[in-house]
């Protein structure tokens, strides 16, 4: 298999398999989670200002009082790399083209130099966060294999994509194929790891906020 055949495979059968497993996993888990249900709370609801599902969805995006000072890397770094990932994934013209081709949806992209800069910032932030996870004893203690694995499968598509654009180490064709392959690995593992928070994040916040609002506690 030469590199062009490798690229054609990852663009063809590889993508098909990856998207298939992704859809299968996402639908399976979402349906399973949302059909679990909850017995009706028969207690009379208490009302408190700022206690609702919607409030919690927004409030959990902010750091609790004092935490920004105690764990600045987690909060600031977390913000930077999530926003960076969103820009790189959804506003790079070739990526939009992929979505357009698959779904028909289309939106304007950003200049590739800007996306390039965002990719570098994102990678740097992710490395800082990894170092922080290794250095902080508590974070290291709480980290399991899944945490390191999730970091790697998120980092690799950004790294290979940036290297392909910059023509580093390997020829563009091979690097592009590796980039697409790494993104496919991300798609495959996303529904079955903690990366599934991309889908459950707001739902679980709402659930917690709603359950506590019933008791009159704004969380």
């Amino acid at each position: 298999m030469n590199e062009l055949q490798f690229l054609t495979w990852v663009r063809g059968p590889g993508l098909d398999i990856a998207v298939g497993i992704f859809l299968l996993g996402v639908l399976w888990r979402l349906i399973e989670i949302y059909t679990l249900g909850r017995r009706k709370d028969l207690a009379a609801p208490r009302h408190a200002a700022g206690a609702s599902g919607l409030h919690t969805v927004f409030r959990r995006s902010l750091s609790p009082p004092g935490m920004l000072k105690r764990a600045p890397v987690s909060y600031i770094g977390g913000y930077i790399f999530h926003i960076g990932l969103a820009i790189v994934v959804f506003l790079f013209a070739p990526h939009i083209l992929l979505v357009t081709n698959l779904t028909g949806l289309s939106w304007p992209g950003l200049p590739s130099q800007f996306v390039d800069l965002v990719a570098v910032v994102t990678m740097a932030t992710m490395v800082v966060m990894l170092v922080d996870r290794i250095n902080k004893p508590a974070k290291r203690f709480l980290s399991t294999f899944e945490d390191w694995f999730a970091w790697a499968v998120t980092f690799l598509p950004v790294l290979t994509g940036w290297m392909a654009v910059q023509h580093l180490v390997l020829p563009y064709t091979t690097m592009l194929a590796l980039h697409i392959l790494s993104a496919e690995i991300l798609l495959v593992v996303l529904p079955f790891t903690k990366l599934f928070h991309a889908f459950t994040l707001f739902g679980s916040r709402w659930y917690n906020g709603r359950a506590n609002a019933q008791r009159g506690v704004p969380v």
């Binding site: 590199e3 663009r11 993508l15 998207v19 859809l23 349906i31 059909t35 083209l97």
Partner: protein, 359 residues
């Protein structure tokens, strides 16, 4: 027409100055040092014309068309006067047994010294019966001719990598020259067709230095194939700015914006079209408004469609819909199982009574 090349050229009205200019251009194109141009001129001017045997196999004659298009009025064509083209079915006057005799004679007289040029792929299916010349299969002819050759030059994508005949499902079992010839130096000059000056450049290098030019991992001369079309493309700034033609007749296309979204394979194609151009530097595919097909890369024919951008799926997703239904089905099945489990737990639940506590 034996004799030094400079005499031949002089007879055709080519001045020494023009010839030197040509050699200097060729040397710079191949990224050789400036002195190489003079060395090339001297070597080529004095060169005795080496014998060249050109074997056409499963091909469309496009490669021959390409090289003959360079004939007049450009100098690329004249450089071919410096070789003794002893066998070329399309161009030679002889036919039938006379032609075969010319080939046999050239092979005998120049054993171990002649250059073998091949265009077209070699079919191996049905013992090579898919393509025969004078009753003999291509593979048989190639093995015989390669045995006495100094070097083999595979001209065009078919000879280099199998090309269109090798496209899926490859009905004739087509293979490239390098799949069969293992013990001779081989230069691949892929392209569909290849650029004339690349063909003549390789020949000039061989005549000047007595060796073949430096090759990349795919056996192509590095001087012409080391950079991608995309990196040398004059439309590259539009790619970087995110300005793309969406159709072949929209405003972007009229403005000459990047053709990436229309399926241009420039980013993965190594060739010299963007710098050397075609038809005496007139234009080249991207300049004329069409994306690169990637014709100088192996198996370009099966690389996911000419009009599909590199970042979009090569094939329509087949299992995705089925997988989505299966995933939804699995989710519903599991949720029923969970509900059954909850129901069973509720049923099995025994309330604690006062009597239990007093036990």
């Amino acid at each position: 027409m034996q004799g030094p090349l400079i005499d031949t050229l002089a007879r055709q009205g080519v001045t020494r100055r023009t010839f030197l200019k040509y050699c200097a251009t060729l040397a710079s194109m191949m990224a050789l040092p400036p002195a190489a141009g003079r060395a090339m001129a001297e070597a080529m001017a004095a060169a005795r014309r080496p014998s060249v045997i050109w074997l056409p196999f499963q091909e469309c004659t496009g490669c021959t068309e390409s090289i003959t298009r360079s004939h007049s009025p450009t100098l690329e064509g004249m450089i071919f006067d410096m070789v003794s083209l002893d066998y070329q079915e399309t161009l030679m006057a002889a036919a039938g047994h006379q032609a075969e005799e010319a080939r046999q004679n050239a092979m005998k007289d120049n054993a171990g010294k002649y250059l073998l040029i091949v265009d077209g792929s070699i079919p191996l299916g049905v013992d090579g019966a898919y393509s025969c010349i004078g009753g003999r299969s291509n593979v048989d002819l190639l093995k015989e001719a390669a045995a006495g050759a100094a070097a083999v030059i595979a001209v065009g994508s078919c000879a280099s990598y199998g090309g269109i005949p090798k496209a899926n499902p490859n009905p004739t079992g087509a293979v490239s020259v390098s799949d069969i010839v293992k013990d001779k130096p081989i230069v691949n000059i892929p392209g569909c067709p290849p650029i004339p000056v690349v063909m003549t450049g390789v020949l000039a290098h061989y005549l000047t230095f007595g060796s073949l030019p430096e090759l990349d991992a795919k056996g192509r001369p590095k001087a012409f194939f080391s950079e991608t079309i995309h990196d040398r493309c004059y439309r590259r700034p539009f790619y970087d700015q995110g300005k793309f033609a969406k159709t072949f007749d929209d405003e972007g296309a009229r403005q000459g914006w990047c053709l990436f979204e229309l399926g241009c394979k420039g980013p993965v194609t190594h060739n010299a079209c963007a710098t050397v151009k075609w038809n005496g530097g007139t234009s080249w595919p991207v300049e004329s408004g069409h994306g690169c097909l990637g014709c100088s890369e192996p198996d370009f024919w099966d690389a996911g469609g000419f009009y599909k951008a590199l970042s979009v799926p090569a094939d329509p997703l087949k299992i995705a819909a089925v997988a989505a239904v299966a995933g939804a089905g699995a989710g519903v099945a599991v949720s029923f199982a969970n509900r059954a489990k909850k129901g069973a737990a509720r049923k099995a639940h025994e309330p604690i009574t006062l009597a239990d506590l007093e036990k």
